[in-house]
Each structure stands twice: as structure tokens, then as C-alpha cells.
Symmetry: C2
Subunit: 416 residues, 2 copies
Amino acid sequence: MKNLIVGQSGGPTSVINSSLAGVIDYAISCGEIKEIYGMINGIEGLLEENYINLGNIFRHMPSELNRLKVTPAMYLGSCRYKLTGDKDELKKVVEILQKLDVGYFVYIGGNDSMDTVKKLSDYTIENGIDIKVVGVPKTIDNDLMGIDHSPGFGSAAKYIASCVREVAYDTSIYSIKSVHIIEAMGRNAGWVTAASALARQEDMIAPHLIYLPEIAFSVEKFVQDVRDKLEQYNSIIVVVSEGIRDENGEYICAKNDKKDIFGHAQLSGTGEYLKSVVEKEIGCKVRSLEPSVIQRSAGHISSLTDVEEAFNLGGVAVDAAMKGKSGIFSTIRRISNKPYTIEYTTEDVAVVANREKKVPRSWINKDGNDVTDEMIAYIRPLIEGVVQTPYRNGLPDYIDIRHLDVKKQNYKNPED
Amino acid sequence: MKNLIVGQSGGPTSVINSSLAGVIDYAISCGEIKEIYGMINGIEGLLEENYINLGNIFRHMPSELNRLKVTPAMYLGSCRYKLTGDKDELKKVVEILQKLDVGYFVYIGGNDSMDTVKKLSDYTIENGIDIKVVGVPKTIDNDLMGIDHSPGFGSAAKYIASCVREVAYDTSIYSIKSVHIIEAMGRNAGWVTAASALARQEDMIAPHLIYLPEIAFSVEKFVQDVRDKLEQYNSIIVVVSEGIRDENGEYICAKNDKKDIFGHAQLSGTGEYLKSVVEKEIGCKVRSLEPSVIQRSAGHISSLTDVEEAFNLGGVAVDAAMKGKSGIFSTIRRISNKPYTIEYTTEDVAVVANREKKVPRSWINKDGNDVTDEMIAYIRPLIEGVVQTPYRNGLPDYIDIRHLDVKKQNYKNPED
């Protein structure tokens, strides 16, 4: 029996730990894996031989897997490091893995992380090394190729749509004109921004305007759009992607020639810039809201569909590795929207590495200030289901992550 | 049998509608009230005879009261208008109430709104008019006198503590130094900011630093505090009140001599300013998060304790009015922290009108950068309990508020 090692990489989502729980659960229950290791801080940590024994933790506390499954961010920590492809570095990774008798290497991450999966897998195959290298996809941005939708996106979508609904209640109470601008994450792909459209139901019109980075943004047209909506409604909600750009490809937030107190240009603040524009051009009450990292860490309002799919994708990847596959990632194909049905399968990691899936033009309305019904039908099933978040003393009671201080405290794994 | 009219005023919280549901529930079930009217947009709307018949809506759909009870913001809309005390205006209000055969006037609001209760109650008593005028307290700020804690505060406290917990998970994933600054509401009173301390449990140290507006803020000391914490921890979370001021009483956000693109001074942004300071003085990764109105509208994570207390306070106020009291508001006295027990009673509205309850110095630590255990023991029970938010299509399914378009559409109440 061989050992397995798993790592997490890239930016957090609400459900990356659900994929980790899926990997651990499968590895424990299949009965064909001996030790289950976790890299601390991804491949960067592994290069420094930083890891913990997950089997020792979770075999003895199986109920903890349920808590792990609903805890946001990354139990194992993360890194932004990609393998360079340098042979010496790849050799070093393999030597560390061989020392641990690892037969299965599982990496949970986005398109950058899948590049690391590809490089390591190519190297092991070329050199006849018996280590299967597989990926589990994740990102709130939903910009991964080769998968119907990315784990993490459904929860971010549910958060942003809920946020719009709740802010719409807050903004409806005064009979004065007001504009609220909500800035959503997604620098190059507008999927999360688009998900705000789900807030609409028969009794709710918000969001009134939606701007994605896939369409060149015109400040003049935006002002006219806002004016038009304010003629119909007292308070309007506008959702913009942080990454909207003008027709010359310049970020709108870069127009914000705001300097901080020390004279540095401030690049953040697409919403803040548009707030200034509305204040000047229209003159009504305006607020800019930027949920920022809250939209990707709000585990208490994760999508149950997302949590379950992320969990299953963890298991599917381990299963594939054990069946001898390498250089693949676990993926989802959609069979139908209504009823929502999918199938799990695997795909060559070359399909996803270093690429981005943008919103198709046909899913954005003609005016470029809203999305189509097709977009809504695509996202709708992904936000379904309410997670049973554990609460203690009135607050979400997530799994303990104090082991992430491993490096700093020169902590030694007690099993070593 | 007389009629009752109820209104909502001031800024929103997650549980003002719970108080409204309590008023309606009591008024329906007591069997001694005929019509139940709701002012649209508070006293300002009433002066324009803008109201709806709540009895006609909720007597026929009792289950809707449960949905109302968990819907954030204000079903009846709000206003920022206070009665001036002008006799003609008071006379006009009374004439409108008499035309509707109103015997009980219930106003849900903060210290400004309680001033309106006082003025109207004084006027009716002086003039021998048989209308009982009572208040139901609310505010996220917890700055009301004459009550142990304000309805709305417990839910804002639960939000901000949950937010700190979740952001702490998000920020723990990289092994680099980082500072996250969360700006909480409460311009003059630091209660909501203080509530962030509840995020701590045996496995969580965040928030590392807490700054309330009750203590003069020194930027130099803040930088030293952050430096000290960064020696102990990789990623630290600082929670600041939007209203912190320096020793001269100048708002810290006013130091932010940032101008918007049109050269106007920007007064918002305490967190943004401190972000610039940390970037310059320390140079590590910094983010500023401002949950803004999201912290008062996040009904899906309301405190059940808060929801139930707000509901009961609605009933207590109506009960008092029916027993002949006027010029009072319903209130809470705490009997013990552990087990948490309270009693409901009423108090002269003069105690609460136009005053503010600040955090006592003894509940802030000596260094002025944290709160004491006494503060935590006081807030802890207020965030307990999870509300069963109704969900539909994956999103919170709150009550329909389309009637708030009444004015704009010249909507006529079908019952008139």
C-alpha cells in the first residue's frame, strides 16, 4: 500500500476544504492507502518538507471531517508558488515524495495550480516514476476551462445574490433617490458579478444594472443608464466587476487618480470611482460597497450544492489516481439544468492549466448592462441548498487551524 | 374598540420588523383592537396620510408574520424626520389619527424617534386627547439609555464577530505577514466594534486589536501596536470603529486628505486611512474591509435572541398602551448573564430621547486597544441562537415590500 499526499494552492473559496474532506474520506474508506499526508502551504511548503499526517487526525475523529467540509478557506494553508519546470526542482519534489513513499499526489487549486500538476505529472511519466499526480479544481471566479462550473463559484454566487437582496431591503426604506454600487470579485471574468442577477424574484427588481469585464465600459453610458433607472425607481442597485475596463482596455479603477496620503496611486476602488461619478453627474445619495474577501470566506452561507460537488470532486480525483491516471483533474459535466443533473469525470490537465473561461457575449444583454435568462438558468442550480453550519456560542464553529503556525513555531509533527 | 397605528423610523437593523411583527401579533391576538394601520415612511408619511391596513394583510395570512419577523430593514419604510414640537404640526398629526379613530400610536425607533414619541405624548396628555403614544426601541449601535441593550445590536454583534472569524480563516492561509483592518459601524459608541471580540474562542486569537471611539486614538500608538502583534503572529486582524478620533477630537478619517476625482474631500474611510499608514510605516500586505450596511441588513445571520426580544418588546409596548400608559417605551432589564435571564418592563421615554449610552472606560483595557472580559460577558448572550431563515431558490426569502412604492406610484390602498 502506498501513501497519498494532498495540498491546497491559490486563493481561498468557501469549499476548498470540502474537496480536502472528500480526498481524505475517499483515502480512508477505500482501504488501499496507508498514510495520508497534507502539505502545509502547498508545493512551497512541501519543498521545505512541511507536512502533517492527516490520517492520524481524521481516522480517529471521523466526525471532524464534517466540520472540515463546511470550514471556509484552506485547512492546509496555501501558496502562490508554481513549479518552474526546472529539472532539479522537480527532482527534489520527487525525492521528498519518495522519502514519504507517496504513490498519489493530489493538488487542489486553480489554473495556476493545475500547471504544477501538469509539470510534475509530465516529469514522473517521462522518468518512469510511479507517482500519480492529479488535480482537483477550485476558484470562485468560475474561469476554469474543461469543467461546467468551478467549485467555489456556487457559494460566491449565493453570497453576492443574497447580499444584493439584503442590501435592497436596506435601501428601500427611504423615499429619496439613492444609488448603491456593489463591487464584485473577478478581474477578468464576470461570472460572480453576473450571479447577482439571481437576487431577482417576482417581488424584487434589484440589481438594476450589471456590468461585466467582458464588455468595454463607458462611463458616459453608465451615467445615462443610472439616470434612466432613477426615473423608474427610487433606489437602485448596480453591481460591477472589479475588473471593468474602458474601450482602450484601461481599468476603470485606474481612472481613479486618487492618491493615498503618501502620494501613491490607489488602484483599488472601481466602485469608489463610480460613486464619485454619480455624485458629480447626478448628485443623489450614493454608497459603494465592496464585500472583498468576505464574499469568498462566508462559509455560513455556502451553497450546499457547491459543498457536495467539491467533496465529490476530491474523491473522484483520488479514485482516478488509484486507477492509474496521472496528469488529469476531476471535473463536472452538466447533463441538464432542470432538473439539475451532472456527471463526474476526469479531464486532461492541459485543458485547464493557465487558461481562462470568460462569459460568452451571448449571455450578456445587447446593451451590455445586464445578463440574459440563459445565464440565470446556468447559475441558478449552483446556489441551491443550505449548509448546516455548526454553531457554538452563537458563532460558526469551524475546524481548528492552529497547525498553520507549524513553520513559525518550528513545530515538529509528533508522528515523525 | 379603538384602532392602532404603528410606524418605523431611523436607520435599519435586522430585527425592526420583528418588533413590528410583535406589535401586529399582540394587536391581533388581544381581541381588543379593531384596525391595525401602518404608517408608510414613519411620521413623515403619516403627515401626508400615507398608511396601509396591516390587519387586512396579516389577519388573513398569519404565517406571513413569521416571515416578517425575520426580514431585515423596515417593512413600513422609514424617515429621518422628527416632530418639531410646533403646535400646528402636532395638531395636524392628532387630527389624522382621530380621523382614523386611532387610540394607540406605536413608534419603533432610536433616540431621535423617541423624541417624537415624547412630543406627541406630551401634547395628547396636555390636551386631554385619548391617544396613548408608546415607543419600541431599536438601533444596532446599542447607544440607547434606559435599556440593558438595544434590539438590533445582538444581530450586528453576531455579524461582525462571524465576519472576523471567517476573515481570519481567509487570512491564515499564507505564511506571509499581513494586516486586515475591519471598519465597524458606530460613530460615537463602540459597542458593535467591541462585539468583534466574541470571535475569539480557544482556537482563535483574532481580532488582535480593537479600537473604540470612546478612547482618543493615536496613530503612532496604533503603528506600534500593529508592529508588536506582527512579531507574534503572521496575519493580524484589527477592528476599528468608523468614529475613532484623535486627542483633539478630530475624526481619524478626516486625516484622510484624499480627494475624490473632482477634488472633494472624502470623509469616509477610517480603515482606508489606516491601511495607508500601515503600508507606509510597516510595508506588509494590508487590506481594509468595510462591511458598511451589510452588517445591519444580514438578516440570514440574525441572532435568534435578538429576534425574539425585539418581537416581545413590540407586544410589551402595545400591552402598556392598552393599559393606559403613554410616553413610555418597552425595555429590557437584565437579571443575570449566566444563565442569561431578563425581564421586560416599560420606562419613561424621557430617559432615552436624544441621549447616547457610551462604552464605560472600565470595559476597555488599560492600553485602549481591546475590551475586557466584562464586556464579552455582557455581549455573549445577545448573539445566541440561529434564526431559521426561509430560503427559496437558494436565497433568503423575505417578505414582499413592493408596497413601499406606494407614494411614487400614487398607489391607493384598496381598503380605503
